[in-house]
């Protein structure tokens, strides 16, 4: 046993850190660190900088143009990005559809799509959920009917994260109603510019536009955009979900939030002293730090015997549950640290460079909205209830 990173990994960390330090644009970094709105172009700018360096797809093997990093190196990279205030890599292309294409896609699909994901030319979104099919994803109803060399798609997807920015959407569609519901699902790649697609924003409780409904009205999709075999989409979808869950722990970001929480608690007065000297508040922060450490070392254990292309299996549910809960608790404590200043809702203050009058608004405005918004983490990516079912059934055999 050895808890230290190898000298090579330590050096790798130093290299990543130095690169981010030199190349992450100041304005983007500020936006991320202060919780301001990021534009599509902000994400893309950073993506292109990473692309130039060969790092835009940290999890990809060399044969597809990735850096070929070990899981530990990927973890170090994510952590450094998170801590430094780099925007999160939009996962839908790089981390979700790409692994599916690498494993199950045709040669043509790989050659067309993967380089465009790598370069940032294509922004992807995920079309799994429907109004009637959330946790029970297999009950999805969006239909794709084959007519000659196209599929004609009709139906509705919902909760599509940042679908308003997307060039492409990967969709689970029903191609057969025979047999078990899982057996009639196919995995389609759809150009968002196709006639018949309508994107409608959904307003979330923080007042922001992050997710959408997407309607398909006789949308024609070339048969060449079917991934793998017809009616085998469920296998691919599950493969993808497992990839989604490991990453969901978001340790780098959590560490950054913890650091900010400590700073906030040190700067907010309470009874004439800094809040961090309030024993109750301090204990709450300490407990979070301990929980985060427990998660971090669990992630490291999982990663240290994972090979780059192996499905981590049901243990990823452990990471999803705790990662989601910790993100929520961090957001909650930051909100609590504000005391009465948790109340103001000043949406303009989420724009970078805004200077307004109410006390503390510029700095604190994002915090309460984030608390509300982060309730999503235990709902999406397979809700925490569903993850507990997975642990109970697949790990514990109950």
């Amino acid at each position: 046993m050895n808890l230290e990173l190898s000298p090579a990994d330590q050096q790798f960390r130093a290299e990543v850190r130095a690169f981010i330090e030199r190349n992450l644009p100041h304005d983007i970094r500020e936006k991320v660190l202060t919780g301001k709105r990021l534009a599509r172009e902000d994400y893309l700018r950073w993506h292109r900088i990473l692309y130039e360096r060969g790092w835009s797809a940290p999890s990809w093997p060399k044969e597809f143009g990735g850096p070929g990093w070990t899981p530990i190196q990927q973890h170090i990279f994510d952590e450094e990005c998170g801590l430094a205030g780099a925007p999160a890599i939009i996962p839908f292309g790089v981390r979700m559809v790409a692994p599916v294409l690498m494993r199950f896609g045709s040669r043509e699909q790989q050659e067309y799509f993967l380089p465009r994901i790598l370069s940032g030319e294509h922004w992807w979104c995920q079309g799994y959920s429907e109004p009637g099919a959330g946790s029970d994803l297999a009950s999805l109803k969006t239909r794709a009917e084959r007519r000659g060399d196209v599929y004609v798609v009709n139906g509705q997807k919902t909760w599509n994260t940042l679908g308003q920015h997307a060039d492409w959407i990967f969709c689970l569609v029903r191609t057969s109603t025979e047999g078990r519901p899982q057996e009639g699902i196919s995995f389609l790649l759809i150009d968002m510019k196709s006639p018949g697609i309508t994107v409608r924003p959904i307003e979330l409780i923080d007042g922001e536009h992050e997710v959408n409904e997407i309607f398909f009205d006789n949308v024609e999709v070339p048969v060449a955009n079917l991934v793998g075999e017809e009616n085998r989409g469920w296998t691919y979808a599950k493969y993808l979900l497992a990839h989604e869950r490991v990453n969901i722990a978001r340790l780098g970001e959590a560490k950054r939030e913890l650091r900010q929480l400590k700073r906030l608690a040190a700067s907010r007065p309470s009874g004439g002293r800094p809040l961090i000297e309030d024993p109750r508040f301090r204990s709450a922060i300490a407990e979070l730090e301990i929980d985060l450490l427990a998660l971090e070392y669990t992630v490291l254990r999982v990663l240290s015997h994972e090979s780059p292309d192996r499905d981590p299996g049901p243990v990823s549910s452990v990471l999803k549950i705790r990662g989601a809960e910790l993100q929520q608790q961090l957001a909650e404590l930051k909100m609590l640290a504000l005391g009465p200043y948790a109340l103001p809702h000043i949406p303009e203050a989420l724009d970078f460079g805004w200077q307004g009058e109410p006390e503390g608004a510029g700095e604190w405005a994002p915090i309460t909205g984030r608390y509300f918004n982060m309730r999503k983490t235990t709902i999406y990516g397979g809700s925490n209830e569903i993850q507990r079912n997975i642990i109970a059934q697949r790990i514990l055999g109950l």
Partner: protein, 377 residues
Amino acid sequence: MDFELDTDQLLLQETLQRLLARDYTFERRREIVKSPWGFSEEFWRSLAEQGVLGVGLPEDHGGFGGPVEVMVVMEQIGRSLVLEPFLSTVVLGGGLVRDAGTPEQQSDILPAIVSGDCRMALAHHEPGARYSLDHVRTIARRRGDGFELHGRKTIVLDGAVANLLVVSAWDEAANGLSLFLLDPGTPGVERVRYRTHDGRSAADLKLEGVVVPAQRLLGPPGEGLTLLERAVDQAVAALCAEAVGAMEALNETTLEYLKSRRQFGQPIGRFQALQHRMADMYVMATQARSMSLLATGRCTDPDAVTRRRAVSAAKAFVGKAARFVGQQAVQLHGGMGISAELSVGHYFKRLTMIEMTFGDTSHHVAVVGDAIAAEAH
């Protein structure tokens, strides 16, 4: 002991329920939220017409009832997520004028509250105070036979819609806090208004050489803190009742959802994990109601120690319950819980704001803790 409402109180409850069902549907509320400061003059007038704005105020000025009636109203306000400034105007402002006002102030202000003409806000909180009531840097200097105010106030709840403020200031001559009635349009008052996360509004105030005549001093000079503590305890009890109304409505909505939302070929309420969660939400709301009754019964207790301890215990418990019920109601609704479309998210936000108003859970636990320590000496 008797925890039941009497016939007049039940009548008040029914009257309000009828009014809200007719004039304050979730759709109507959504429109009011969209108005500049989250306030409907029309609805405020309807509350006045039904006599609701006189609750807890003296009968000779058009009011009726006491803390129990306030509780009845606040529960309905919680259930319907009413945005209008009942708490600030009637409980805090009206309560202070009732308890400390001169006969002239009372006959000037109280009937105007009852009729809906006067909307009040308490301008007390200042930067750095967090939840302590005695942190006031705004000063009041004697000027002729009146005063001059200098300072800043922040998070003045309902301060964006109020036309009469109660301002606290350190009264140099009296060596204590004094309270002043102030028209927000007075020269030297600068008001920055903004919205709050629950669809309501607030304001920050700058006071620079604001002249207040002697007859606008509210209560004896230097006695402001005692008056405020009493008023805030009553407001906290009222907030507990509002939270109980909101939690119960939220639990009903969530229960409905568990029965109607189907996944895996069955209502999600069939899953035992969710049944237990819903049961816990019910357990919390049930006890929160008990604590709200306790706070209502004790919030006017002349013994400040007894009063404070009961009110803080209630706020601490209700705050904990509000957080649990709010978060879990969102969770049980899945993605729909995060969307602004359903009422769930709006209850969650209001419950959060209630927890953060006049002392969060941790603050009130500490108050009870201090009382325990004092008792041990």
